[in-house]
């Protein structure tokens, strides 16, 4: 819980006033509670939560005495005034606070030892610190039979609710999903959804974090742990490229819960998590997790020790053939760097690439001034080009909604419908013709403009990247990349390209392939990769989860996931942030950086360091983009990597034409449709599969009905999908969901996710 807003006591325009007999000052406009907190005086609060918007003054917990004003005032809704005389601890102020607590506890069970919030509950805390010892309420308390399931992940205990409205305001005013409400009135008021509905959305779990009592609790976490047998570690979400800051709650070596940090990162997620960030951790122990090293010998598979597996890997790699190394998008900067070092030293001459979007042509827009997610709030104009941020970089949605609430104009341009379109003015572009749509934009004047652009969409249309870069440059705007890959920016900072190995393998120039968190057979270009990898003789996989690649590898070495390792991720806005190991990796697995150092030792080129911190320092020393960074500099909240060297936006002209015949394919993504969501039991009720969405007119033209199945065929590959006809999707394109495990839409795409057309027919 963020609770109090940060206050800059050194800012211009301070107002002087008296607080508990002390002469103090705080910036004009600061709410008294926040000023007091910054000055070391804690006024208790419940309903106040500055991230939810203007104060509502409902709980009355923050009552203080202000000289010259009748009764007591709520410090959360009273801005500091020159020379006001405030007492937060006078008898009358204390009586006010005690009184409110007494009223709150009147109907509250106060059975903290059996309450899921016990030990970390502001109400329990305040009862203890400020409250009266005994209750004068002799009547029977309000009683509800048992907690309700607000959804499959959130339980509501109505007895414990103190009607602070935080959860309702989050739903109505922050997520704007409008689903959580207060029903009835007076003492009968209770938190609810539309009768009979579950509370579902992309951000629902945040209400658990902001509930100041044990009324809203996490069902997956319920009863698993008490606050005294857990430890909390700040880390980064590894499920999208936003760099969302999280806190991992650990119990007995496992991640028991993911929450926002108590001190949010205002530049990034502002303490709000998507439900994917929050609930995907259950996948860390999913059945497809690799827990024991495997060595394949003449078609026989045998389990091995980690040492033996690393030895075996070294043996295969050291045989002298031509080596290719693939670094996957969730690999840390350290892992990417160590892989590069292997290729430079022990495996001199090895080819190496990251799996991801090559993005030639994107540097024109990337090198324009960068903004942080936190800057979106204050923009006068927000332009979103391509992509589907709510599903792909979810917390961006909350920032854009906040900007709109604060009066920003929002314009979206892109080929696919998404949840931020209704927030502003939506311009629908023709598939593969973003550049034309960008050129035709009529942007209003604004004091500050932030352009958000989708990496994959613009990479597929380099001319659009150039056109957009010109707009950004001309307006003095700043830009935010809507990155596709978790650590794509980190791997790029290392100078890792995204094409070498595929070409070489396809040409039969790779004998041995080392994959690090990389599964090319399940990503874009899966079909092309499949063909190319068929020509490779031996494969070594360092991976956390089983995949088609690990199934066909000679040596499989289980790796720690991002929940279990030290490392650095660079977010899509260029912010380097630290992963800290929360859970311990399974006995048969180890962090990728450790495995790579061990491998280097076995191959006779030992690096001069044995820790992730030192590996990162070496990377920072060797790569200009990371210059000046180390774990200390990155600290708790992260530090920016160097800007991309400016590139003229005038390079590319004219669209890139799509391969194949038929309808242009527009890929879509669903927040709960990816492998991480599919692995987590907590998300079972919201997870979604893959589908082909067509405008009803296209359905009719192709003779395909809603709910039928269709075969899609591109020059690269084919797959079969269920069809949904939807009028909100334009005709002239085929919309197919990527990222869904096993669905195979990636097979239709080239490895660089370039444009393709698909033929559609009944299977």
């Amino acid at each position: 819980m963020a609770d109090y807003a940060p206050v800059d006591l050194t800012a211009e325009g301070q107002v002087e006033f008296e607080l508990n007999g002390r002469r103090v000052s705080a910036p004009a406009g600061t709410m008294l509670v926040d000023a007091a907190y910054a000055l070391g005086v804690e006024v208790p609060i419940f309903c106040y939560e500055p991230r939810l918007g203007a104060p509502i003054g409902a709980c009355r917990m923050c009552l203080v005495e202000i000289e010259g004003m009748r009764g007591l005032q709520t410090a959360c809704s009273t801005p500091v005034q020159p020379d006001m005389v405030v007492r937060t601890n006078s008898d009358i102020a204390k009586d006010g606070q005690d009184g409110v607590l007494e009223f709150l506890l009147e109907n509250h069970p106060l059975d903290c030892p059996v309450c899921d919030k016990g030990g970390e509950c502001p109400l329990q805390d305040r009862t203890f610190r400020f409250g009266p010892g005994r209750t004068r309420f002799v009547e029977a308390k309000r009683h509800f039979p048992k907690p309700l399931d607000l959804s499959s992940v959130i339980a509501l205990d109505r007895e414990r609710c103190i009607s602070c409205y935080r959860c309702v305001r989050f739903s109505q005013d922050v997520a704007e999903d409008k689903a959580l409400v207060m029903q009835e009135r007076g003492a009968a008021a209770e938190i609810a959804t539309l009768t009979g509905d579950q509370y579902e959305g992309r951000f629902t779990g945040n209400v658990i974090d902001i509930c100041p009592v044990g009324a809203l609790t996490s069902i997956p976490y319920r009863f698993t742990a008490r606050p005294w047998d857990v430890t909390n570690t700040p880390s980064i979400c590894g499920h999208d490229a936003t760099g969302t800051n999280v806190e991992l709650t650990l119990r007995e070596g496992h991640v028991a819960r993911v929450t926002a940090r108590p001190e949010p990162n205002y530049a990034v997620e502002e303490g709000w998590l998507s439900d994917l960030s929050r609930f995907a951790y259950e996948g860390n122990r999913a059945p497809d997790r690799l827990t024991a090293p495997l060595i394949r010998d003449d078609g026989r598979v045998k389990e091995a020790s980690l040492d033996d597996a690393v030895d075996a890997a070294a043996l295969v790699l050291g045989r002298g053939g031509r080596v290719g190394i693939l670094v996957g998008p969730t690999a840390t900067v350290e892992e990417g760097f160590l892989a590069q070092e292997l290729a430079r030293t022990a495996l001199g001459g090895a080819r190496i690439q990251r799996l991801g979007i090559p993005g030639a042509g994107l540097d024109a827009i990337r090198s324009q001034p960068r903004a942080e997610l936190g800057d979106i709030d204050g923009a006068g104009l927000v332009v979103i080009v391509g992509g589907d941020p709510p599903n792909q970089q979810s917390i961006v949605e909350l920032r854009v909604r906040k900007a709109r609430r604060r009066g920003a104009a929002v314009i979206t341009v892109g080929p696919r419908p998404h949840a931020l379109e209704p927030v502003g003015t939506a311009v629908r572009s023709e598939p593969g013709r973003l550049a034309a749509a960008i050129a035709a934009l009529d942007l209003p004047e604004a004091a500050s403009t932030i352009v958000l652009w989708d990496e994959a969409d613009l990479a597929a249309e380099p001319d659009a990247a150039g056109a957009l870069a010109r707009i950004v440059g001309d307006r003095g705007a700043s830009q935010i990349e809507l990155g596709a890959d978790v650590n794509g920016a980190g791997l790029r900072a290392l100078g890792l390209g995204a094409g070498d190995v595929l070409e070489a393998a396809a040409a039969g120039e790779i004998d041995t392939l080392l994959t690090i968190h990389a599964d090319p057979l399940d990503g874009p270009g899966a079909a092309d990769w499949g063909w190319a990898l068929g020509r490779v003789r031996a494969r070594i996989a360092i991976a956390a989860y089983a995949s088609a690649v690990t199934d066909a590898s000679t040596v499989v070495i289980p790796a720690a996931t991002h929940y279990e390792t030290d490392g650095v991720y660079v977010s899509m806005t260029g912010r380097a942030q630290r992963l800290r190991p929360g859970a311990t990796a399974p006995a048969g697995a180890a962090p990728g950086w450790e495995l790579l150092i061990a491998l280097a030792h076995r191959l006779g080129a030992p690096p001069p360091y044995r820790s992730a911190a030192r590996a990162f320092a070496a990377a920072a020393a060797a790569r200009p983009a990371l210059a000046g960074l180390d774990y200390d500099v990155i600290g708790v909240l992260g530090a920016p990597v160097a800007a991309v060297t400016p590139v003229s936006p005038n390079g590319v002209n004219g669209p890139r034409e799509a391969a194949g015949t038929g309808l242009p394919l527009v890929t879509t993504t669903r927040i709960f449709g990816n492998a991480a969501a599919h692995r987590s039991e907590a998300l079972a009720s919201v997870r979604t599969g893959a589908e082909l969405v067509l405008n009803p007119a296209e359905g009719e033209r192709l003779g395909i009905a809603d709910g039928a199945r269709a075969r899609l065929r591109s020059p690269h590959g084919e797959c079969i999908l269920a069809v949904r006809l939807a009028a909100d999707h334009p005709a002239g394109a085929a919309f197919a969901t990527t990222g869904v495990p096993g669905a195979g839409v990636e097979r239709l795409l080239p490895a660089d996710r370039g444009p393709v057309n698909v033929e559609i027919e009944a299977p």
Partner: protein
């Protein structure tokens, strides 16, 4: 009631309000005239006609005493029990009406579904205390206990109005 019917009612007055949210209450009240209470379908229809979420619309409806989210009888009798009426015998009147309607003394809906009896707060007819209201359309008082019996009997036999304004 369906969204089209609700829209037909509220669209002509939309221009009278700077924000369309103001139409929620008129829409709810009108939607209720059909069945006398609001079902989930009614709530969803109001949501559709006004453009607000059904959860929000339901939460608004649940705030007000005269919007019913549970089934009610064909006629709702509200017996004022606030001070002026109490002084003049509203408690006795309430009991008598409940007895005659065949519901508990706290109120409820008669078995034949004809009458719902409920306590109400001051109806603004204290000069006619003890006063009762039938739906929101007719207010009667002062009522004697015999009047109470006659009222229940009358409501049992009189036809339901086309629109139920409660």
């Amino acid at each position: 009631m369906n969204a089209a019917a609700i829209s037909a009612h509220i669209e002509p007055i939309r221009h009278e309000y700077a924000e369309g949210r103001s139409l929620i209450l008129p829409a709810l009240k009108y939607a209720q005239t059909e069945k006398g209470h609001l079902t989930r379908e009614d709530i969803e229809a109001v949501a559709e006609a006004t453009g607000f979420s059904a959860a929000y619309v339901e939460s608004v409806a649940s705030f007000y005493d005269r919007l019913y989210l549970q089934p009610t009888g064909q006629r709702v009798v509200s017996v004022c029990v606030t001070l002026s009426c109490m002084l003049r015998g509203s408690d006795e009147l309430m009991e008598r009406i409940c007895d005659r309607a065949g519901v508990s003394h706290h109120g409820g809906t008669s078995e034949d579904g004809m009458i719902t009896v409920q306590e109400a707060q001051c109806l603004g007819y204290c000069d006619h205390a003890p006063a009762v209201q039938v739906d929101a359309e007719q207010t009667r008082g002062p009522l004697t206990l015999d009047d109470a019996d006659a009222l229940v009997d009358e409501l049992r036999t009189s036809p339901r109005p086309d629109e139920l304004w409660r």
